[in-house]
């Protein structure tokens, strides 16, 4: 991070000002020429191919198992594994590192796993006249039979202007997690609408203070609640166009629900990943709208709530009144193939394997597979584990209900929510009153990222 260090300059520039001006003039004479070559059959210019060369694969720690499964199944292909943070928590390391390789003109890995789902927006655009990082997959690099096997809408984050540029690792559709044992003990029925949910939240606050029906303390809160309420905060209408209207009735109804239940303390403003949350709410989570991966990350996790087997149930996404229910989505990783790869065949084989093969997606993967056939087997396996109190069909239902009015722009909605709305929630201020400020923050960020905002 010391690339540019003005302090040292500040002390030295005065002395070297004249020499500096001359050197700048000299540097200005040169410029880097990057030319993109002829387009190959897959829709991009291919590097010189070498079928025996090793492929370099970047994965996060959880996905090392995917590489191992691939190597066990394909011992003839040489794979070099590089572990990185998966670009998680807004670190943007995938994008950052590729930007540096773009500048250097070499060094790209062949396949990259990203825990984010908005990378296609930048990876499909070349910088400074160079070739975009992501290889187009739907022009023969990955068979169309494989692409069509993914769940409905699963490849939306990978699709830019009709082309597919990545494979989805897992889905993170939101469902209504609940504690079946507690619900029965308190004599409540499982809500099916947001109105019922709010009424139950208010009731819990009165009858069983200390118990909660959800959390709004995480950066992905808007993806769990606003997305599932069809709030038009993130409607990506074109490769560089977005429509933002955060003051619609759809946004306001959910904001009012949040305000009411936060005031009642049946929604907590603590992040589910804090020690404080675990301390205060172990055994006290009645309902919890959230992504599919909450099961393993929060409920069935010794480090977190550690709910005993036979208690946790999964309910379908909630609807507003008589509207059709829609689901939100929180993440779900993606696999990219580099358009600069010298061994596209092996890279494609790898990406196809880790997203579709039972040996990884069913046997090992912790999340709900994006590939439909694997997902069915994964659900069967989870049900067979005996941990859950109910069947898992709600997950499958929700997978097809993710609302498509919430897009995948290059900037992070989570980061915007975190810096504009989370402090308000913490300070006990109203979300409904500040929906306008949220919208302005989104529009500003979109404009800076080069989006046309409506």
């Amino acid at each position: 991070m010391n690339l540019i260090h003005p302090r040292r300059l500040a002390r030295r520039f005065g002395v070297l000002g004249v020499a500096g001006t001359l050197a700048v003039a000299a540097l200005a004479g040169c410029s880097n020429d990057k030319t993109s070559g002829a387009t190959g059959s897959y829709g991009f210019h291919e590097a010189k191919q070498d079928k025996n060369s090793a492929i370099t694969v970047w994965v996060d720690a959880s996905r090392v198992a995917a590489v191992k499964a691939f190597q066990a199944a394909n011992p003839s292909i040489k794979v070099k594994t590089v572990t990185y943070d998966g670009s998680s928590n807004g670190s943007n390391s995938f994008k950052t590192k590729m930007a540096l390789y773009d500048r250097a003109g070499k060094g790209w890995p062949d396949v990259v796993f990203s825990s984010q789902n908005n990378d296609a927006s930048w990876a499909t655009r070349g910088t400074g006249g160079g070739q975009a990082f992501a290889a187009r997959l739907d022009k023969g690099l990955i068979p169309s039979s494989t692409l069509s096997g993914f769940a409905q809408g699963a490849l939306n984050p990978c699709t830019v202007s009709g082309g597919v540029y990545c494979l989805r690792n897992d889905l993170s559709q939101t469902v209504l997690w609940y504690n079946d044992t507690l619900l029965k003990q308190f004599g409540y029925t499982l809500p099916t609408t947001w109105e019922d949910y709010q009424a139950l939240g208010e009731k819990v606050a009165k009858e069983h203070p200390g118990y909660i029906v959800g959390s709004v303390g995480d950066t992905f809160t808007p993806e769990v609640l606003m997305w599932a309420s069809k709030c038009q905060a993130n409607d990506v209408t074109g490769p560089r166009a977005v429509t933002v209207n955060t003051e619609s009735p759809e946004c306001k109804r959910m904001a009012a629900l949040i305000d009411k239940l936060v005031a009642d303390k049946s929604l907590t403003t603590l992040s589910v990943f804090t020690p404080d949350f675990v301390k205060q709410y172990t055994g006290k989570v009645l309902l919890m709208p959230g992504p599919a991966w909450y099961a393993g990350a929060i409920f069935n996790n010794k480090e977190s709530l550690n709910v005993p087997p036979g208690q946790i149930g999964v309910g379908a996404p909630l609807a507003w009144g008589s509207d059709a229910a829609v689901a939100g989505n929180v993440g779900g990783g993606t696999w990219f193939i580099s358009s600069h790869s010298a061994n596209l065949a092996a890279a494609a084989k790898f990406a196809e394997f880790v997203t579709t093969a039972d040996a990884y997606q069913v046997d090992v993967a912790p999340g709900y597979p994006a590939y439909a056939a694997a997902a069915a087997k994964w659900v069967a396996k989870q049900q067979g584990s005996g941990y859950f109190a109910t069947d898992m069909s709600a997950l499958t239902t929700a997978a097809g209900q993710v609302w498509d009015g919430w897009g995948y722009p290059s900037y992070s909605q989570e980061a915007i929510w975190a810096k504009t709305m989370t402090p308000l929630l913490t300070a006990g201020k109203s979300i409904e009153d500040n929906l306008g400020a949220w919208g302005t923050a989104i529009k500003d960020q979109a404009q800076v990222a080069g989006y046309k905002v409506q």
Binding site: R8, A10, R12, V24, T96, A418, A427
Partner: protein, 328 residues
């Protein structure tokens, strides 16, 4: 990046050491002017040998990257000449003036508290006549500065979380019961100033202590004989004689402070983005380079920072008489 440790801790960064040494040498030389002509010619010829590594490092890590930044700032992504485009882009960014305000507020709070408290503590420690007490006080002040920048910020992540903090009861008494409530946006300039003060002030107290030792005993003696009490001595003898040192501290602190980066970056990661990752100007430059992939815009912000730091430093150099050569 705030790089206080490099300014103060022993030998962690070569280029800063000769700068500190140079000032000290000036002071020593100017207080004993007669010795200078007696120096042997051989001493002079070895000078360039000692200076050479400094010059090389300065060129490699200061001047050349700096010139590259200026080149990037006045060209576009294709390398064409664009003298103002990058500057208008970054200054039109909605985050630019917010970030500038954050940094200005932080630097204001931090530099003023640094100047006042460091001088105060140095004079107090210097006034302690008990040898072991004075020495242990200096060591006590210095210890936090010996931690590397990032690791001391990591330490503060725990201090600021009421659940894990050793001063948790104090935080709760102030009405903060969770980490997010401590790091509300309005608290941030003060929090960063406290962190920076804690990591950096100790080193400066030791430097100021050295400066106080440089004041001739006869002068202090004379003041005491004339009936000046310790407060009068501090105000009328020690403070005026410390002027250059204070200006020197202000210049380096300003330059370091305007580069606020490590504290907000780590807090941003730790708070899952509640502290934004574009809080300071240096972070914004980083965002330009690596999020927007706009190295030219990033360079433009850096050049603007350089200009501001240069102007402010020039003011302090002039007001503090840093380059004056008359006897102290």
């Amino acid at each position: 990046m705030i790089d206080l440790t490099s300014v103060q801790s022993a030998g962690s960064e070569t280029p800063n050491r000769p700068a500190a040494g140079r000032v000290r040498e000036d002071q020593v030389a100017s207080s004993r002017p007669r010795r200078r002509p007696k120096r042997a010619a051989g001493v002079r010829s070895i000078g360039p040998f000692f200076v050479a590594p400094y010059v090389l490092f300065t060129l490699a890590f200061g001047v050349i990257p700096g010139l590259y930044a200026i080149y990037l700032a006045v060209t576009d992504a294709q390398g064409g000449f664009a003298p103002t485009a990058n500057f208008t882009t970054v200054m039109g960014d909605f985050r630019f003036f917010a970030a500038a305000r954050h940094v200005a507020l932080f630097v204001g709070i931090w530099v003023v508290s640094l100047l006042v408290l460091v001088v105060f503590f140095a004079i107090v420690v210097h006034a302690i006549r008990v040898r072991w007490l004075s020495a242990s006080a200096r060591l006590f002040f210095y210890i936090p500065g010996a931690l590397a920048g990032a690791s001391s910020v990591m330490l503060w992540l725990f201090v600021l979380d009421p659940v894990a903090s050793p001063v948790g009861p104090l935080l709760r008494a102030l009405g903060f019961d969770s980490f997010p409530s401590v790091i509300q946006p309005t608290h941030l300039p003060v929090i960063f100033a406290i962190i920076a003060f804690w990591t950096g002030a100790g080193g400066w107290i030791v430097v100021m202590y050295g400066a106080l030792n440089n004041i001739p005993d006869e002068l202090m003696e004379a003041a005491r004989i004339d009936g000046a009490n310790p407060v009068q001595i501090a105000l009328h003898i020690q403070l005026p004689l410390l002027r250059k040192w204070i200006a020197y501290m202000a210049v380096l602190s300003l330059a370091a402070g305007t580069q606020l980066f490590v504290e907000p970056s780590l807090l941003s990661q730790a708070s899952n983005g509640v502290v934004p990752n574009d809080y300071s100007l240096n972070q914004l430059a980083y965002q330009y380079a690596f999020d927007l992939n706009d190295f030219n815009g990033s360079a433009a912000i850096s050049v603007l920072l350089l200009l501001v730091a240069l102007v402010l430093s020039a003011v302090f150099v002039a007001k503090g008489g840093l380059f004056e050569t008359e006897d102290v």
